[in-house]
């Protein structure tokens, strides 16, 4: 199958939906490729009562004339088309303009016991609960860093989970400064208060992080550390994530320039590759409001409505302060590098341990010598950890950027010279 569209959007979270709706309402033919079974991305994942803005955007997305391709992944691409695996087949989508709205994933950091069943990402446990994993009556420790922790604790508490503790690695001072800066954003402050209220029974610890997860075959307790104090708490689930890292694999594959790990985009969200736009978290972790604005700007620009796109840019720039403040407030403390011990698995696909990796020169050497990052996830989990732990640049991207069946790979085969043309 091969199809051609004016605009192809990758990702159906807030940024991708806003881009698709904006381009479609401007009269362009639009296709949206999304890995998830339903639109909304991670933040507006079904199974949770969604806020009004989410329902409004999902409604516009459903009503607009858009070719929706859920459960589908882009595994390769070039300047005029992307290769997609979905619905049991591989096919090409040709585009005039491409909008990459691939979102972010959680950063996971290794510590002894983090591979035990019962240890999830913070957003990970939230997503599993929304997908039907019962959490009512379960004792949950929420740990890591970022505003997501409180949101996750609130969602789980509303489902009847007993939140034992919320452990934020950032010091109270940084989070308090962030909260004060947020005083100009009453909606965000109100949301924080609502979340804290929903999880009000949980004790919140700042400057606190997990040093080990324990259990025989499944999690039964977690050892926490705060300054010199260490203590062990019993729990059924640990929800642990260290803020977010952008999904930039496809952007990098297409040759778009990255700056400090994020996609460099101009005032209308165009990347360094003409006709390729990027919106949302890959351009900087800024949350749903920034993602919606960037999506609209990218969608309009991709549809050729440059003036309308430019008119929205100042509203987006107003959020720059929030993006920076977020990054500063939840910066990772160096002590987190000492969570893993020699025997701690870092690469969960190939079971490569911290001790095997320590002392290697580079990510490339680690891959070649130890198979770290060579498994199914292609380094999506261990790469961000290795970057923080060892200071390696983790940037090599090779197609297919998602594992795809041979039938899909062969039905969409970019010639080697087309890739070089990038």
């Amino acid at each position: 199958m091969e199809r051609a569209f004016d605009v192809v959007v990758v990702g159906a979270g807030p940024a991708g939906m806003a881009a698709a709706v904006s381009a479609a309402e401007a009269g362009r033919s639009v296709a949206v490729v999304d890995d998830n079974p339903a639109a909304g991305g991670q933040i507006w994942r079904r199974g949770e009562t969604l806020p009004g803005a989410a329902r409004a955007w999902l409604g516009r997305f459903e009503r607009a004339a858009i070719t929706r391709l859920p459960g589908s992944r882009v595994f390769d691409g070039t300047v005029d088309r992307v290769c997609v695996d979905g619905g049991g087949e591989g096919f090409e989508l040709r585009y005039q303009a491409l909008v990459l709205a691939t979102g972010a994933r959680e950063r996971f950091l290794p510590f002894p016991g983090w591979t035990l069943p019962g240890v999830f990402g913070a957003g990970g446990l939230d997503a599993m609960a929304r997908g039907g994993l019962p959490v009512a009556g379960k004792r949950v420790v929420v740990a890591g860093t970022g505003p997501l922790l409180l949101a996750v604790a609130a969602h789980l508490a509303r489902r009847g989970a007993k939140i034992v503790a919320i452990c934020e690695q950032a010091p109270l001072g940084s989070v308090a400064r962030f909260a004060v800066r947020m005083a100009t954003e009453p909606a965000k402050v109100m949301q924080g208060i609502e979340y804290r209220w929903a999880a009000r029974r949980a004790k919140m610890h700042f400057g606190c992080w997990p040093v080990a997860a324990h259990g025989a075959g499944a999690l039964d307790s977690v050892t926490l550390r705060q300054s010199r104090r260490r203590w062990r708490v019993g729990c059924d689930f640990l929800a642990c994530g260290f803020h977010l890292v952008p999904n930039v694999e496809l952007t990098a594959l297409l040759g778009c320039r990255l700056e400090n790990g994020f996609v460099a985009a101009d005032a209308v969200q165009q990347t360094s590759v003409a006709g390729v736009f990027c919106a949302g978290e890959p351009c900087g972790i800024g949350g749903v409001e920034a993602a919606l604005l960037e999506g609209q700007i990218a969608g309009l620009a991709a549809a050729g409505r440059i003036d309308e796109a430019r008119a929205l840019a100042p509203r987006r720039r107003k959020l720059d302060g929030f993006v920076r403040a977020l990054q500063e407030a939840y910066a990772l403390r160096p002590e987190l590098r000492a969570m893993a011990d020699e025997g701690t698995i870092l690469c969960r696909c190939e079971d490569v341990r911290y001790g095997t990796l320590r002392g290697r020169e580079s990510w490339r050497e680690a891959k070649l010598q130890t198979r770290c990052g060579m498994g199914s996830c292609q380094g999506r989990v261990c790469g961000a950890a290795a970057e923080f732990l060892f200071g390696w640049r983790v940037d090599a991207v090779r197609p297919p950027i998602f594992p795809a069946p041979v039938s899909s790979l062969t039905s969409c085969n970019l010639a080697e010279n087309e890739r070089e043309a990038r």
């Binding site: 959680e106 990402g121 990970g124 039907g132 969960r348 999506r380 594992p403």
Partner: protein
């Protein structure tokens, strides 16, 4: 849509509420999804299709990320 769905997990029939992901069903059924290369039992980590800890065989198709797939009646799921 029916309120419950019956699937098969490792050869055993298993009933879950409609809308449950295959990953959540596997955890409800047994608590794990796969065995790692060094023999550890694993369960999903990310819940959003990037970590591949939830992968299983569905209807004979290997490497399916079960957290991104909703249970359908009669699905035959095997852990790996």
């Amino acid at each position: 849509m029916p309120e419950v769905v019956t699937i098969s997990v490792n050869g055993q029939p298993f009933v879950v509420p409609a809308g449950t992901t295959v990953a959540a069903a596997m955890l409800r059924a047994g608590g794990t999804t796969r065995t790692s290369v060094s023999g550890e039992m694993r369960a999903p980590l990310c819940g959003m299709g990037i970590c591949f800890e939830c992968r299983a065989v569905i209807g004979g198709k290997p490497h399916e990320r079960t957290c991104q797939i909703v249970c359908e009646p009669g699905m035959d799921v095997w852990s790996t």
